[in-house]
């Protein structure tokens, strides 16, 4: 569990990035920070592993105040995945993946062997192990980034727009992969994105930020979708339009769902389908065509 208590961050240049932010991030669940640019998401994420220290307030991990912990040791037990993968260009894929265990003092051969298995876990072919990051596609680099984040088997995984720079098809693949990994590994994931669809797909808990770092709403995707707290949230999640504003239309052959434009969006079925999306409150009785991209 990660707990933010009345956290404020003012940068030396005077920018107030986060103001009086409090939040409990439950263990073994995915919490997604979503919101517009400059709303303080990255700043909050970096306060968890002390890349940024709060101006006031405290951050606790399992009841322990992080301010009392050695930052370098703390970072080695928290996975971090960033946009553009942040891989070290002078290390091969396998050495990138093995970075954190090696820093932790695991013998290099052992760390490499573990890292090879980690490449399997993130769905990366072992034949890529000896390549350098510049010889990989963007999607492959992100997988290596995830492998590196998981290699030391951390309880917490911080992900800052990890899929922001890959094309939509690869992104959908990576999202499905992350859902699978999360089902297998059960990490405490904090995931930052601009994309509300991604937030609803991945998040058990979603935090929507407004401009200026204020929290507009915290809740499960179901809660937010069914009861947007403000007009801002309603607008942000697109509740009133497109594929979120579905209605039932009867046809000769049964009932279908249409979006706000009247385009067919899915079928209304009796039982819950797509068991792989059954993470808690997200069980759906709608087979929505947009989420099928993930079945690939």
């Amino acid at each position: 569990m990660i707990e933010f208590r009345n956290v404020t961050k003012r940068f030396p240049d005077g920018t107030l990035a986060v103001e009086d932010f409090s939040l409990v991030i439950p263990s073994r669940k995915t919490t997604v920070f979503v919101g517009s640019s400059g709303s303080g998401k990255t700043t909050l994420l970096r306060m968890v592993n002390r890349m940024v220290d709060p101006t006031s307030g405290t951050i606790e991990i399992d009841g322990e105040d992080t301010a009392a912990l050695n930052p370098v040791a703390l970072r080695r037990r928290i996975g971090y995945v960033m946009q553009n993968s942040g891989l070290l260009p002078h290390l091969t894929v396998i050495d990138n993946a093995a970075t954190v265990p090696v820093l932790n003092g695991v013998p290099k051969n052992e760390a490499r062997a573990d890292a090879l298995r980690m490449l399997d876990t993130v769905g990366l072919d072992r034949s890529l192990a000896e390549r350098y990051p510049s010889q990989l596609s963007g999607g492959q680099q992100q997988r290596v980034g995830v492998a590196r984040g998981l290699a030391a088997d951390p309880n917490i995984l911080l992900m800052d727009e990890p899929f922001g720079a890959v094309d939509p098809i690869v992104r959908a693949e990576l999202q499905v992969e992350l859902l699978r990994l999360q089902r297998e590994l059960g990490k405490t994931v904090v995931f930052v994105t601009h994309d509300i669809d991604e937030a609803f797909l991945l998040g058990d808990q979603v935090v929507i930020f407004e401009q200026g770092g204020r929290v507009a709403q915290i809740g499960s995707p179901t809660e937010i979708l069914s009861d947007p707290a403000t007009d801002f949230v309603a607008h942000f999640i697109g509740a009133e339009r497109g594929k979120r504003a579905l209605s039932i239309r009867s046809t000769d052959r049964g009932e279908i769902l249409v979006d706000s434009e009247g385009r067919a969006a899915g079928l209304l079925v009796d039982s819950v389908v797509g068991a792989q999306y059954d993470a808690g409150p997200k069980s759906r009785s709608v087979s929505n065509k947009t989420s099928q991209a993930g079945d690939a």
């Binding site: 970072r75 080695r76 960033m82 260009p89 002078h90 820093l103 010889q135």
Partner: protein
């Protein structure tokens, strides 16, 4: 040519002294420029101050420096260490700029990512920033190497033996072959040093080689596409 055969031993001796005078300044220039260049890459003020000093030092005429150095160091006017010291100053002066550029070439993303996964400041420097600065450092030290090898000859004017002796002696005694041999030997030493440095670079920076060949491959591919 007859001159060459009858003086082979003397030429070889001068080649060795020349190398002995060239190597230390190259090493000193490299080593000293690392902390200075790193500092310059981290602070704008440090950068402008250090690069200005470097620029000024580099404009001091080499002969003047060779005459002044013994006075400053209190060494004998003919001590080889004078040449080493003076050329080290030039080497640092040139190399600081390369080194500053080299460390600036390491992207903030990579630096932050190294911090995020748990490199301490020193580990990050030695295991990430220094190797990634390598290609630009290498380019800089190759320039320093060539320039040092050629500047060593100036020492001969004040009597410190190097291949430059062949120039002064060849002019005094009007032996063109001697001058030509001097020039050829200096060029050879410079070329061999450069080959060694390039080889060391290939060995130590394998990722750079693959990145470069990848870029070339991409360029080839894109020219194929546009054709």
């Amino acid at each position: 040519m007859a001159w060459v055969w009858s003086n082979l031993e003397q030429i070889w001796g001068l080649v060795l002294s020349h190398i002995a005078l060239s190597v230390p300044p190259i090493i000193v220039g490299f080593v000293l420029s690392i902390p200075l260049g790193y500092w310059a890459s981290r602070s704008r003020l440090a950068r402008s101050v250090l690069l200005s000093i470097g620029g000024v030092l580099y404009t001091i005429p080499s002969l003047a420096l060779l005459v002044v150095v013994p006075v400053i160091l209190g060494t004998a006017i003919l001590a080889p260490s004078n040449v080493v010291f003076a050329l080290s100053i030039y080497a640092v002066a040139i190399m600081v700029r390369s080194s500053a550029d080299a460390f600036s070439s390491v992207s903030d993303d990579v630096r932050e990512s190294a911090t995020a996964v748990g490199y301490s400041t020193w580990q990050r420097f030695f295991a990430v920033e220094f190797p990634l600065a390598g290609p630009v450092l290498l380019a800089g030290i190759r320039v320093v190497s060539v320039s040092t090898v050629s500047l060593v000859t100036v020492g001969s004017v004040i009597g410190i033996s190097s291949l430059g002796n062949l120039f002064t002696d060849g002019i005094n005694r009007n032996i063109p072959a001697e001058i030509i041999v001097g020039i050829v030997c200096v060029l050879l030493i410079a070329a061999i040093f450069d080959l060694i440095l390039a080889g060391v670079g290939r060995l130590l920076l394998p990722w750079n080689r693959s990145a470069a060949s990848l870029t070339r491959a991409a360029e080839r591919a894109s020219t194929l596409v546009t054709q």
